[in-house]
């Protein structure tokens, strides 16, 4: 008897909560993670699976506020051109090197230079002074981004390419194959429960403690007691156009029927996307929602008489290939001829954008930068965020926001990660002996 996917998700979430309440954390043990992805991300922000090796100075909390992490205090001048941070004392890197302004400055400067070209950093003991000729009102959001993590490169040993201050330290890094981590005993916020974590690629049938469930395996049978963890929508699939006229993109946006894409094609692991940022992140995404308007689309097409176009998608990605074919099928109903094609640089491109921040402004700016565009968002003014996103929608057609799904065997317990949250934090995980 077929059980609907949403029922699976509900039941597994319930089981997860029950198990959490009935057990107590336990130190020790190893955890194995297997991924179906083509590569193992050393940057934890690229995935919903958070295995922190590095940390940032500050972090955005769920309420939109800023929590200190590697710093304890900060000050800025009225123009937001000069910021002074006091670093957290007694924090060390994985190799025992103390965290000071001098050791933190290189990675911070490299990250900030991407946005502020004339930025400079002055250090003194546990203090860091960041200065720029232009105002930096969003500096805290910038420093909360994963890109602004504090780390040191370890060029002497390629098996341990970076040294951070996070709860896990790298013990072995085999690019494209395996990432071995161990608990950092001297972690300033307390040692994690797990002794070690090994992340590898699924060679065949997954036998790990935690493994991702890729597209097409949603209805697969898992071992008894396996819980399913679903992230908040955090991957945007969208169509971008290099030189297509805005009216043509509008016609295409009008003719694409998104709910079937989310419900059937994405196997209910995503939400129909009418905005770039998901509803949970902005709260206003519903304002962009619309229904297909074939007649209007046909009108626009009859005025444009567009030439046949190509829609490129990443090769070997079955989901995106089928999605491209679906878009082409919908487009044909309005008289827009689109030929899906793998990899080639077509008129239209089907892209996946991973969310890396829970700050909507940061995330929107990141999306705009990825597309080669720029947006103006004033801090503390959500209407400018809305306007910025609306302007981007002239160049991008959002299709679906996808969630990540992981299967977790019964012996694994994760304290802080609830279903639908942004990330699955392994620093809070422990295993039953």
């Amino acid at each position: 008897m077929k059980r609907p996917a949403w029922a699976w998700l509900a039941l597994s979430s319930l089981a997860f909560a029950t198990a959490h309440a009935a057990t107590r954390p336990h130190y020790g043990g190893s955890l194995t993670v297997e991924l179906h992805a083509g590569s193992i991300p050393i940057d934890s922000a690229a995935s919903a699976l958070s295995i922190p090796i590095t940390e940032t100075l500050v972090r955005l909390n769920a309420r939109g506020g800023v929590d200190p992490i590697l710093c304890v205090a900060w000050q800025h001048d009225p123009d937001f051109k000069r910021w002074r941070f006091s670093l957290r004392p007694k924090v060390t890197f994985h190799d025992g090197e103390p965290l000071t302004g001098a050791t933190a400055a290189p990675s911070l400067l490299a990250a900030l230079k991407k946005k502020y070209s004339d930025v400079s950093i002055q250090t003194g003991g546990q203090a860091i002074v960041i200065q720029s000729g232009s105002a930096m009102p969003e500096l805290l959001s910038d420093l909360a981004a994963p890109d602004s993590a504090v780390f040191r490169k370890n060029e002497a040993n390629p098996r341990i390419p970076l040294i951070g201050t996070g709860p896990f330290r790298i013990t072995a890094w085999e690019p494209g194959r395996r990432l071995s981590l161990a608990a950092f005993d001297d972690y300033w916020n307390g040692r994690p429960y797990l002794d070690s974590v090994t992340v590898g690629l699924v060679a065949g049938q997954a036998h790990a403690d935690i493994f991702d469930i890729p597209y097409g395996l949603t209805r697969r049978a898992f071992p008894e007691g396996t819980s399913i963890w679903t992230s908040a929508p955090r991957t945007l699939v969208a169509i971008t156009a290099a030189n297509a006229p805005p009216a043509l993109l509008q016609a295409l946006a009008l003719v694409i029927d998104r709910p079937p894409i989310a419900n059937v094609l994405a196997q209910q692991r995503g939400d129909a996307a009418f905005s770039l940022l998901p509803q949970w992140l902005t709260g206003y995404a519903f304002l962009f929602q619309s229904t297909p308007d074939l007649e209007h689309a046909k009108q626009l097409v009859s005025q444009l008489r567009p030439a046949p176009m190509t829609l490129s998608y990443p090769a070997n990605d079955v989901f995106l290939r089928t999605l491209a074919e679906r878009v082409a099928l919908n487009a044909r109903d309005a008289g827009i001829m689109i030929q899906p094609t793998p990899n080639a640089g077509g008129n239209l491109r089907l892209i996946e954008l991973q969310m890396q921040s829970t700050d909507p402004a940061t995330e929107l700016a990141s999306i705009a930068a990825t597309l080669g565009l720029s947006v103006h968002i004033e801090s503390g003014k959500p209407e400018t965020l809305y306007q910025a996103e609306r302007s981007l929608l002239d160049r991008v057609i959002p299709l679906v926001h996808l969630r990540e799904i992981y299967a977790i065997v019964p012996r694994v317990h994760i304290e802080s990660s609830k279903p639908g949250s942004f990330a699955l934090h392994l620093e809070d995980a422990w295993v039953q002996p």
Binding site: A5, Q267, T322, E325, R326, L329
Partner: protein, 546 residues
């Protein structure tokens, strides 16, 4: 066209025509044979196609039945309408059953899952709404929409109960070139599928048999094209044509040899006869044709010899008669010419005899007058005899390069006094002489004599005065001299007889002047013609080889 060429062409044409007829007949028989063979092979292939169509259709129906009975479809039927998670099911089932097409369609004819075009879920298959007993419908042809176009398929439909509705399982196999390639075909046969009516174009000279393929509603979906290669036939026909060309060429060559041989056999006596004719025509009347056969040509030679003998006899008789006539004419002319001066002589002598009886003074006077008359008449007689003597004494011409223009000028100068004699009507002279006339091989004295006679003749024709025109010209390797007068002219009859000796239109002429001219011209291998009409004067034209 020579007889030899005629014989050659006849033989060659006969040989070519025969070979062409044989080649055409053989080609027609070969074509007919190939045509029948192609028809048999095509019929066999069509039968094979029908059998394979039925066999694969039955197999497709069995597999679609298996899909309809599969756990997955049964689960889908039970869970319906929650079908979104079955989106990829058709691909899995199609792979299991090795089907090219498979769609799972809901009771509202909405596609739940499509193996051939996965992205097409949610779209409608309206044709399934027709009230049809799909099981008894069997397999039918249908155009299936694909992401990259359309394909023709052997489709069958099965239904599965899903709650209050019906779930449709639609699928089958492609009817494509791969299907057609699996049919056992004879060498030189090619089977194609055309899904675009009006675009059937044969390859080279191949023959194409078409078989329309209809769908469920009898609409034409495609056309089966069975092409029979005519390469063998073309090669065979080419061989026949080549052979015919070779045989024809041999025939023509043989015809050439035969024609030469035959023509030689036939024309040798003819050529001999022709040579004999030419000799006879040059005056060798004693020449006789050789009679070498008893056939028509031999008879012709004999008849020719007989004719020649008769002509010789007639010529001799004619010469004899002409000679007699000439002597008679000569005698008559002599008698006439001599009789005229004899009468005054007789009268004068009689006057002398009568005067002897008169006084001596009268006698002396009569004597003086009579002797004067006698001497005049004797002189006249001498002139007549001299002319006859001149005509009789025409010597052979002594040829040397001669400037005719100069001779013409000398003659005009000679007649200058006569032309402008006082008391006589004036004759105007007009010379039109070709500058680049060039020398002519001639006897200058005889030429001068002939031209003098023509000028004299012209002056005689203009007793009342007129215009004498002498014109020289050169063309086509000939030099011509024309002497024209503006006198009374001549009748056609006079023109015909003008050069006959002793014929004259003048009261005191001897009829020898123009005869002498013609004799001179003839001795110089030239020609003389006269053109005249009464009242329009006359023009004598002499032509010599330059």
């Amino acid at each position: 066209m020579s007889f030899r060429i005629k014989v050659f062409l006849s033989i060659a044409a006969t040989a070519m025509l025969s070979v062409w007829i044989v080649a055409a007949v053989v080609s027609a028989l070969v074509s007919d044979s190939f045509e029948r063979r192609d028809q048999q092979r095509t019929a066999a292939l069509v039968n094979q196609f029908q059998r394979e169509f039925d066999r694969r259709g039955a197999e497709a129906a069995r597999r679609i039945e298996a899909v309809a009975d599969s756990d997955a479809v049964q689960r889908l039927a039970l869970n319906f309408p929650d079908a979104s998670s079955y989106f990829t099911e058709a691909q899995t089932l199609a792979q299991e059953q090795s089907l090219d097409f498979l769609e799972l369609v809901g009771p509202d004819q909405t596609i739940i899952s499509s193996a051939e075009w996965p992205a097409r879920f949610g779209y409608k298959e309206d044709w399934l709404a027709q009230p049809v007993d799909w099981k008894s419908q069997g397999v039918f042809l249908k155009r299936e929409a694909l992401a990259d176009g359309e394909a023709l398929g052997l489709i069958t439909v099965r239904t599965v109960k899903a709650g209050d509705g019906t779930l449709y399982v639609v699928g089958g196999w492609r009817l494509d070139q791969q299907f057609l390639d699996s049919l056992p075909g004879a060498e030189g046969m090619r089977v194609r599928l055309s899904q675009q009516p009006g675009q059937i174009t044969p390859v080279n000279s191949d023959t194409i048999t078409t078989l329309p393929l209809h769908g469920r509603d009898n609409q034409l979906l495609a056309t089966l094209l069975i092409e029979n290669s005519r390469a063998d036939l073309v090669a065979l026909k080419k061989y026949i044509r080549g052979t015919a060309a070779v045989v024809g060429a041999i025939g023509v060559l043989l015809g050439l040899v035969l024609s030469f041989w035959t023509a030689s056999r036939v024309t040798r006596p003819l050529r001999s006869l022709a040579s004999t004719v030419r000799e006879v025509s040059t005056g060798k009347w004693d020449t006789r044709a050789t009679v070498s056969s008893a056939d028509e040509i031999g008879q012709l030679a004999r008849d020719f010899n007989g004719m020649t003998e008769q002509l010789v006899e007639q010529r001799d008789r004619m010469i004899q008669a002409e000679r007699v006539a000439a002597w008679r004419e000569l005698a008559r002319r002599l008698a006439h010419e001599l009789k005229n001066p004899l009468f005054p002589l007789q009268i004068t002598i009689e006057n002398l005899q009568r005067a002897r009886d008169a006084s001596s003074e009268q006698f002396d006077e009569v004597f003086r007058e009579s002797t004067t008359t006698l001497l005049a008449e004797v002189g006249h007689l001498k002139t007549i005899i001299g002319r006859f003597s001149d005509f009789a004494k025409m010597p052979a011409p002594q040829l040397e390069p001669v400037d005719i223009n100069q001779i013409v000028r000398q003659i005009i100068q000679l007649f200058e006094a006569q032309l402008h004699a006082p008391g006589k009507p004036a004759v105007e002279t007009k010379l039109v002489l070709e500058k680049d006339l060039g020398p002519v091989s001639a006897d200058p004295e005889q030429l001068r004599r002939a031209l003098r006679n023509l000028v004299l003749n012209a002056l005689d024709a203009m007793p009342g005065g007129g215009q004498l025109t002498i014109r020289t010209s050169r063309s086509d390797g000939k030099v011509a001299v024309e002497v024209s007068d503006t006198g009374e002219g001549l009748t056609p009859e006079e023109c015909n007889r003008l050069f006959t000796p002793y014929y004259t239109t003048k009261q005191h002429g001897t009829g020898l002047g123009l005869a002498i001219v013609q004799s001179v011209v003839s001795d110089h291998k030239g020609t003389i013609t006269v053109h005249s009409e009464p009242g329009q004067g006359a023009t004598f034209r002499i032509e010599f080889q330059a």
